[in-house]
Amino acid sequence: MPKNVPMVKVYILGEGFDVPEGSTIITALEYAGFQLTVGVGCREGFCGACGTLYREKGDYKLQAGLACQTVVTDGMNIAQIPFVPAEKPIYDINKIDPDIDAFKILYPTLFRCVGCNTCTKICPQDIEVMDYVQALIRGDVARAADLSFDCIRCGLCALRCPAEIVQYNAAILARRLTGKYLLPKSPDLENRVKEIAEGLYEEELQKLEKANAETIKKRYYDRDIKTG
């Protein structure tokens, strides 16, 4: 950290701490002396472990963000939400169809959505959460999968939903059903799996496995390269 960085004051669980300007909420917490054991994971915005509620100085609004991705501002009031006690129904993906019935049975709360848009407003990934919930209500599983693709399961949407919907768990089901049933099957993939099961490359692979370093090197540097 370069010298003479200007400091800002942040309030962690109500208590004020001076931290360097430009810190993220995670690095601010650490600078203030907290050793984090929960509420942190990847530190790069991919895992959703670090959901945090905050309020900025002079603002009445309660906002939410990822602690590893949100830069602190002077006067910010912070509370981490390391865990959301949400329901997760159990299912066998092989035994459900990619349609509305799956959601009626497993996620009946979806149909209570009041269309308040709170979830969309809070989502740190800028996902149209309400739209994917609505897509599920219409039975448009592929659309919900597409819209929810960037979800990182931070849980913030469920936390604020007045209808107690667990949006992100319904969304992973939508994506799994789409990946398994709705996307086209790749003929090349099916074919290659079959070829290998029939042992097509086995003999050649065994030869490579036993070949000496010189042979392998030669074949490596001689191989033709196609990048298009």
């Binding site: 929960v38 895992c47 997760k88 693709f149 090349d188 290659r192 290998i196 490359y201 692979l205």
Partner: protein, 555 residues
Amino acid sequence: MYPEYMRKSIRRVEKTRSERLKLARSGKTIFPMMSEEERQEVLDNFHPDYKKDARKKVRIGPNKGEKITTKVVDVLEAYSRIKPEYFDLKHPDYETDVLVIGAGSAGFSASLLASENGADVLLVTKLRIGDSNSMMAQGGIQAAVRPDDNPLLHYLDVMGGGHFDNKPDLVKALVSEAPDAIHWLQELGVMFDRNEDGTMLTKPGGGTCRPRMHSARDYTGAAICRTIRDEVLNRPDKIKILEHQPAVELIKDDKGNVAGAVLYHLENRNYFTVKAKATIIATGGFGRLHIKNFETTNHYGATADGLVIAYRAGANLLYMDSVQYHPTGAVYPPQILGFLCTEKLRGLGAQPVNKNGDLFVHPLEPRDIEASAFIRECTDSNMGIETPGGQVGIWLDSPLIEKLSGPGTIKKNLPAMLRQFERFDVDITQDPILVYPTLHYQNGGIEINDHCETKVNGLFVAGEASGGVHGRNRLMGNSQLDLIVFGRRAGIYAAQYAKKAKTGALTLSHITEYDKEVEKIGVDKKHISPMVLPDYTPSSVKERQHTTEYQGTLR
């Protein structure tokens, strides 16, 4: 937003862009690949592994006398966190057939296959389940699926990338099971990107001779990891989960076989014991050791714990003298220092250029070569750009992607990257990204055979914690693949082993013995491992913690 002096350099990048675009469109190679000799030269002179203090001899344990990465030696030559005499091993807190340590994609695959092969599974992890390096992979997963590709070509690429040090039996397993791994993931519901005709979209990657990289936008690792996590969560009767409870030591039985682990609860600070017929280590890598003070792309818990506890239990390490620095870590803005800028950027056509906007290396050399070339450009050649914070980097010309493939390409294919930089007011569709190599991947690890077995009975390893398959340098997309291929294998073979295993009386005597060895070489009592979590407490705080005791990095 970039300050004005950096903008000046960006304008030079913009000036050369149209020429470089023409070159890229011409289909000719935009910069010659290095010969074997040139590669060696740039590695010798610029790769951090080749610096004098990069390695030292480890003085105890199975690899005694071998030169290993210095920071790794430091965690191996350290005392245990536990006092064996405190534990009542006659009454373990948990009993299971298969214990899986670590909940990334390797641990999930292992848990699923172990349960399908008749074993009861206990899955324990340090953070929440799924918070891992697996979740963070953006670029892709390799498999030779296209008609113009095949497992033999994949085999050669893996070997060449690994400098021919790879263990051939492992490479054979990797490449021949790759298509089936993709198929398995698809059937579990991973939404891989498709071409319009329904075939899998595949892109080239560093060191591949065919476009072989399968992706799920730039959330490939997440798409895989969260799908198999959901499947794990759907089997609560077969797979029990303990979160925030890292394994800090392995337990053995009186026959010398591994038979479980000691867990440390990070919240209530209890220790718990697990008795298991077979144990699988899937604890991932070591980025948070910050080797040579590099920033890292790795998650918060990547502290080489698995290596340490396996080593104490008698397993040997392979290729722990080599470290993977990813060529393109972010150096600006400062909040995302070390953040991974996926190789897929270059796969899609982004070119690395220096402060004058000139190309100086082929964009897709193997990672260690590419990273070394970047370091050369920033040091010896003095053609890098310095940030206000004092870091140096070169430009990755991302706007070129949209020039090549049309506007919207970045949003469609790299939403995570776009979002990440937007959060800090950088628009990568308009401006290039400043990058420098960042600590990324543990090439070596605990040696395994193609059944994921180690030298010690009852101990299996899968994923980044294992060593051998990638030799001394892994290519992009082969790690995500190895998690699935060897994760599944570990699950199968551990379940089979568990069926026959007759576990004897439990013991931690190997810890007592190992600690004696550590003491003999005169290591300071303060050195404790595994590290579990890095310590980012500033000294100003520590000065006031008059009554706080640190056990290694933990309070």
